[in-house]
């Protein structure tokens, strides 16, 4: 299961498992984002390369307008996936405390 929605504070809340079967849902939401956005991964348990592709595609689109994604509350497993993928150099990432 994967859920994505706006929180009251404007952040984008992601929950569950972002696997290849959930990409259409995630991409559809991400395509509606404009400007600077914060993705809150506190409830996201898992991400695969398919999910990484959506983040990358969105970051590239937003970079065209000098904005981008900030990702917060990243669990240690996903954080290491980001590190292996070199995402820590192209995203502003904050680990879960």
């Amino acid at each position: 299961m994967f859920e994505i929605e706006h929180a009251d504070n404007g952040d984008v809340l992601c929950r569950g498992r972002l696997d290849a079967a959930q990409c259409e849902k995630a991409q559809g939401f991400m395509d509606g984002l404009e400007g600077a956005n914060t993705l809150d991964f506190a409830g996201l348990e898992y991400i695969s390369s398919a999910g990484l592709g959506i983040l990358l595609k969105t970051q590239k689109r937003l970079a065209g307008s000098s904005a981008g994604l900030r990702i917060i509350n990243v669990n240690n497993h996903i954080h290491d996936v980001f590190r292996y993928s070199g995402f820590h150099t192209i995203f502003d990432i904050k680990a879960k405390e």
């Binding site: 498992r17 079967a21 695969s48 592709g53 970051q59 290491d80 996936v81 292996y84 070199g86 150099t89």
Partner: protein, 138 residues
């Protein structure tokens, strides 16, 4: 334990449940579970994506070798040869403008595996991914 899964993305949820039930029953640590699930998905999706005209099920097995080492095997009967152990160039230091989506799945598996094997003969591909707690990194 073996199970056959239909060759489409709708199989990912039952594939996760099948794997998680086995890992849960053996009390496998989260540091092993995460890469096992990741490898399972990446390998399965690869077999689906690169064989659009093949309709046979993909046979998956999960084995807990000892207290905290897991081996997963995926058998793809009728698919094209795709050596997941072959070296692939992925520049993880490239700036955003030079990045393109794709290619990270195999890169991640190769980095997360303790051991990764691939065999292909007579149209039958077999991938064996092994992960133990002695090399936890995610």
């Amino acid at each position: 334990m073996n199970r056959d899964f239909p060759r489409h993305l709708d199989s990912l949820a039952p594939l996760y449940d099948f794997t998680e039930d086995i890992l849960e029953a053996s009390d496998i640590s989260p540091g092993v579970r995460f890469p096992v699930h990741l490898a399972m998905e990446e390998l399965f999706v690869n077999m689906v994506k690169y064989n659009p005209d093949v309709h046979s099920d993909i046979v998956v097995s999960v084995t807990v070798i000892d207290t905290d080492t897991v081996t997963v095997v995926l058998v793809d009967d009728g698919g094209v040869e795709f050596d997941v152990t072959a070296e692939r160039k992925v520049n993880i230091d490239a700036p955003l403008a030079e990045r393109t989506p794709g290619g990270l799945g195999i890169h991640l598996i190769q980095n997360l595996a303790d051991k990764l094997e691939y065999r292909y003969k007579d149209g039958r591909g077999e991938v064996i991914f092994t992960k133990g707690s002695g090399n936890e990194d995610v």
